[in-house]
């Protein structure tokens, strides 16, 4: 009996090891950590070409740890998944996508529709939902990874680091992560946008930078917003996280720089019968950062007046951005449809099939409240 008990216990313990079905032992050095991938159209008869930057961590036998280098692999396939598998084959190591920071789409891939390309990323357990997605403004997406790295450092790590900060410095780009993109594509009432990535060209080389926003209709890429339009687009979608706002006596003047401390936007549909208007309220807290004209506006006019100037400028420029998008693309990247859906789901069901047409004619009432919290200057005596 005792022997039987011991045997049973041992058998159970052993089966715990082998019947769990999750044996995924792998040593870290047996895999390449993928920093990011770029997806292009294939050039050798395959529909897809995947370029991946992996982190090359080998120290080449030296005792000290050398700086991490990037290493770019390319392969093509009938599907994204096949191309990815071919990458592993080429690398002779398992590719590990758990720390993949970004995926870059070329414009032609994006124009053909993203939903097919995204499927692998959504389905495979390794890539996370927080992968950042970009659209390349260069010829291909792969060249960003291939040529981008200034000194052999992994470009993907540089971009993802820059992205964390860039938004709050300029307020002109906003990272879009995979799950957000999924929400745009399959959620209600908001078209997708992705930040653009392009090369900044120096005399002796290139460096990737974020510039502008790619606009989608459905899952297809249809055009671009430049960086000014991106700035106000982010304002309206309540995604602004900083940057400099320029204003002056007239709405188009740029005498005064206001540093944005905090901003929030409230979008509310006003529904009366069949008539829908969007009420957009932007509130912005700023500090008075610079006045580069000789008009001495702050002293002469006072803070209140300058706040009013800023409000006027903000309303005008935001209005222009909405206008451009309505006229040029007719794609609801501001998520007005979603606001209607949230407020009145029944109405949304009715107007949804015709929403693109409605959106082009949608009237917006934009109002702004700008507060200058500090002027940031200790005036010397007699300062004019």
């Amino acid at each position: 009996m005792r022997a039987f008990k011991i045997f049973t216990a041992a058998a159970l313990a052993v089966s715990l090891v082998f019947l769990t079905g999750c044996w995924d032992y792998r040593e870290v050095e047996d895999m390449y950590i993928v920093g990011g991938i770029a997806i292009d159209k294939g050039t050798q008869g395959h529909p897809y070409r995947v370029t991946a930057e992996v982190l090359d961590l080998s120290s080449g036998g030296s005792e000290k740890q050398s700086p991490i280098k990037g290493k770019v692999l390319e392969s093509e396939g009938e599907t994204v998944s096949e191309a990815i598998a071919a990458l592993s084959h080429r690398a002779n190591k398992t590719l590990y996508y758990g720390d993949c920071k970004m995926v870059i789409f070329s414009r032609d891939i994006a124009a053909d529709g993203l939903s097919g390309v995204l499927d692998w990323m959504n389905r495979d357990p390794q890539p996370r939902f927080t992968i950042q997605a970009y659209v390349s403004q260069e010829q291909t997406a792969g060249e960003i990874l291939l040529k981008g790295s200034p000194n052999g450092q992994p470009i993907t790590l540089l971009i993802s680091k820059a992205m964390e900060k860039a938004a709050s410095y300029s307020g002109k780009s906003q990272a879009v992560e995979l799950y957000q993109l999924d929400n745009f594509l399959w959620g209600e009432g908001q078209s997708a946008t992705l930040p653009d990535i392009r090369f900044h060209r120096y005399e002796d080389g290139v460096e990737p930078e974020l510039y502008g926003t790619a606009v989608f209709q459905g899952d297809r890429y249809i055009g671009e917003l430049d960086d000014q339009e991106s700035f106000y687009f982010l304002f309206i979608t309540d995604n602004n996280s900083g940057g400099i706002f320029l204003t002056g006596e007239k709405p188009d003047d740029k005498d005064i720089s206001l540093k944005i401390r905090k901003s929030s936007t409230n979008v509310e549909p006003v529904i009366s019968g069949n008539n829908i208007r969007m009420k957009i309220k932007i509130r912005m807290e700023t500090s008075y950062d610079e006045e580069c004209s000789r008009k001495n506006l702050l002293k002469n006019k006072g803070i209140k007046t300058i706040e009013q100037y800023a409000e006027k400028s903000l309303v005008k420029r935001a209005g222009q951005t909405v206008d451009t998008v309505q006229k040029k693309y007719g794609s609801d990247i501001f998520g007005f449809g979603r606001k209607i859906y949230e407020k009145d789901p029944d109405l949304w069901k009715k107007i949804k099939p015709e929403w693109n047409r409605h959106f082009r004619d949608l009237k917006c009432d934009i109002s702004a409240e700008v507060v200058i919290t500090d002027t940031g200057f200790a005036f010397p005596k007699g300062y004019e």
Binding site: T20, Y25, E27, V28, E29, L57, S59
Partner: protein, 498 residues
């Protein structure tokens, strides 16, 4: 005859001095330390005596001044009823004189430093207390040093040890019951407890188990602890042990029973709660904030020491997804070029660490230190440089090793758990680690020490855990621990200053 241990019922054979001496000699044949001294009274040469004692066990000055001198100077009267009784009552200066003809008492007396006095014409003898041997002085115990608090430690003499306990608890409520263990060694032992506080069930259980001991010798309390403990195969101790009289006194006051064994400074106490291993002796002598901090750190150290290598192996070989990217990169970089799998690396370094520790512990003084430092530096540094192990392994093993020594009394158990966890994590990843932790909890919570749960009331409401995870201020510990005693009032009212 010569190999006989037991003299129960045997008596001195006759009234003749020579015959009696011969008999005792035959018992102690081939024992050259036995001294036999014949005397006769200068006033009456018919009065013959013999002193028998074991050399080295007696205080010779005491023997000369208080036994031989009065015996030779005493003018024996003509009439008396029994020479031995007369000597016992009128002649001896010795503090403890037993008149007996029982061979058991005589033999035990001789081997324990008493002197046996035989008189011609008497069928009985006197066993005189002339014990006197050198003992170690009272020092601070090496393994339980404190920065603040009493520094006395037990030594190898039971009576000295008992005196240290008695001096701390001066009440007739403190009971001392003598016992003897070991067929050959006849080691004396003493049960100590506070009669009004002790848990009677525990005391009875202890006595019952002690009565079953049948072994030739008990040289340390560990012999007894292993013979009577609750789960003989368990790696966790279920009996406490200390070298400090203040700790014993503290435990007696909480209702525990102590067993002091002659010949060892280790005193065992029951019942035992696992948390006692985390309670430093200093906790009660330090400000309670620091004492509590120290105790929390010790508990944390145990968890880290047993878990860290396992977690590292699980994360580095199964769950890279959980690691933040920079950490994954740096581990991966460090692993580059190392030929062994992570589990072998860490096993190798853990075994090296245990070897260094063991060597350091056994080496005398300064040599041990030098050896361990050089060993650690040379082996650690060189192993990384030579790419035999990766650098994070050294950190992990170092942390596990250091934290393992923070709870010295659980040292061996910590090592055992650490390796078990490591084995589980290396085949099952984090799942194995959790499985191991759960098994550990089940094991610990399933154990008893003399009818008291080993984990005590650690899961009870906060009120009853004042001395478990933290050391509450004394004014707050109004009652004694619930599981140890029924007589719970320690302070009649909390004496916190209002």
């Amino acid at each position: 005859m010569a190999s006989q241990d037991n003299f129960k019922g045997a008596k001195l054979p006759c009234e003749k001095l020579d015959a009696n001496v011969r008999y005792i000699h035959s018992v102690f044949s081939d024992d050259d330390t036995l001294v036999t001294r014949f005397l006769s009274s200068p006033f009456d040469s018919a009065l013959k005596f013999c002193l028998i004692y074991a050399n080295g066990m007696v205080n010779n000055k005491l023997l000369n001044d208080d036994v031989i001198r009065p015996l030779l100077q005493y003018r024996f009267p003509e009439e008396h009823d029994g020479l031995t009784r007369l000597i016992a009552q009128n002649v001896m200066f010795s503090d403890d004189v037993k008149q007996t003809d029982d061979m058991e008492a005589i033999v035990q007396g001789i081997v324990y430093g008493d002197t046996v006095l035989l008189a011609d014409g008497c069928a009985d003898s006197l066993v005189l207390n002339t014990k006197g041997w050198n003992t170690r002085s009272i020092e601070e115990p090496e393994s339980e040093r404190v920065l603040r608090g009493p520094r006395e430690g037990f030594n190898e003499s039971m009576l000295v040890n008992l005196s240290m306990i008695r001096r701390r608890i001066r009440t007739p409520d403190l009971k001392f019951r003598f016992l003897t263990f070991g067929r050959k060694t006849r080691t004396k032992a003493c049960l100590c407890y506070l009669d009004s506080v002790v848990n009677k069930h525990v005391l009875e259980e202890l006595k019952k188990r002690l009565a079953t001991i049948d072994i030739d010798g008990t040289l340390d309390t560990e012999y007894i602890m292993e013979l009577i403990r609750d789960k003989p195969y368990s790696p966790v101790e279920t009996i406490g042990s200390t070298e400090r009289p203040d700790v014993v006194a503290g435990r007696l006051l909480e209702g525990r029973v102590a067993l002091v064994l002659d010949g060892t400074p280790q005193v065992m106490t029951v019942p035992f709660l696992l948390i006692e291993d985390f309670q430093s002796d200093e906790d009660y002598c330090l400000n309670y904030y620091f004492a509590s901090l120290g105790r929390i750190l010790r508990i944390l150290a145990f968890l880290i020491s047993t878990g860290l290598p396992a977690i590292y192996v699980a994360l580095a070989t199964f769950h890279q997804d959980i690691l933040p990217a920079p950490l994954l990169i740096s581990i991966s970089q460090a692993r580059d070029g190392v030929p062994f799998p992570t589990i072998l690396e860490i096993l190798f370094m853990l075994v090296v660490f245990e070897m260094l520790r063991e060597t350091g512990a056994r080496m005398p003084g300064i040599m041990g230190q030098t050896l361990s430092i050089v060993g650690a530096l040379v082996i650690g540094q060189a192993a990384v440089t030579a790419k035999i192990v990766s650098a994070p392994i050294i950190i992990i093993v170092g942390i596990a090793g250091i934290t393992g020594l923070m709870v010295p009394r659980l040292k061996s158990f910590t090592i055992l758990v650490r390796f078990t966890m490591l084995a589980l994590a290396s085949v099952l990843g984090l799942y194995g680690f959790l499985y191991g932790r759960v098994a550990l909890l089940i094991l610990l919570y399933g154990m008893d020490s003399f009818g008291v749960p080993l984990m005590g009331n650690s899961t009870e409401k906060l009120k009853n855990t004042k001395d478990i995870y933290i050391r509450a201020p004394w004014w707050m510990m109004i009652t004694r621990p619930k599981e140890l005693t029924k007589n719970r009032i320690r302070q009649n009212r909390g004496s916190k200053k209002k």
